[in-house]
Symmetry: C2
Subunit: 151 residues, 2 copies
Amino acid sequence: METGDTREHLSKEVIRMTFELTVRLRAHLDHTAGRLDLTPMQARALFVTAEPLPMGELADQLHCDASNITGIVDRLESRGLMERATDNTDRRRRNLVVTDEGRAVTEQLKAALRDGNPVLELDDGALETFHDLLSRVLAARHTSAGSCGSA
Amino acid sequence: METGDTREHLSKEVIRMTFELTVRLRAHLDHTAGRLDLTPMQARALFVTAEPLPMGELADQLHCDASNITGIVDRLESRGLMERATDNTDRRRRNLVVTDEGRAVTEQLKAALRDGNPVLELDDGALETFHDLLSRVLAARHTSAGSCGSA
DNA sequence: TATTGTTATACTCTATAACTATA
DNA sequence: TATAGTTATAGAGTATAACAATA
């Protein structure tokens, strides 16, 4: 058996499993968000907006077009979970700020996300190893098709 | 420092990172699918339908309501990538079968999914460890909110 | 009576393009 | 002229409920 074949086989398996993990974690997030009366995108927006940030940056972090953010934030704002603050240094910008209620919901979301998360079934040692591997994977720069670039 | 605190801290970090990984892999899948003129759900349907399977089972695997499958399969069928076959043992069922062209597209998809996948940046040893950990995570049964159960 | 898949409905997400207001 | 955000639009995903065909 050649090393290339092993790597090839291993890669295919890992691709399949990361796909499966992604599907499962996505279902977990969607379900958890639903229990808090949040759509998946609303939950992700809250999750990501720890510090005030302009709308375009939220679009980047959520990997979607800026035009979508308007509606998503509209709905969060109408529920009092988020607000648009004006930026005095550049009055085109609207800085998104999570309200107190929004922060409370976000904390509920994070707690609920821990319950039933399959990753946390791992014992301490394995969890630590998993942590290290994730750090390395996430540290790697996006290569060809990482983000929604044109190319 | 107590063990519980370490575990707690580690858990939070791992949750945050799996969330980030999920977002990134999802963007990667969506972008890759788009390059093959597939919507994300169409890509997932093809990915999952290696063996013929009834529509309800596809709904389960895709974690969505059965009513959505009709439209998704309609569009795949109109492109000649998938077909509805009648099941002679139970004529209510329609078994989904990927056509030759559908299989070709699926192979393209899988190959494209490997390119630029951040997980494959890992070296052989780390990849193997990651493989083992994923196996353990995926083997764990869904607990509270794993699937879209009522509860 | 229960199950498989469809249809109808209403809402959300999605990208594209054209627009406003700032810079 | 370029950028941040909005609006309009059309297509796709989403769950719910009511329905047909079959079991």
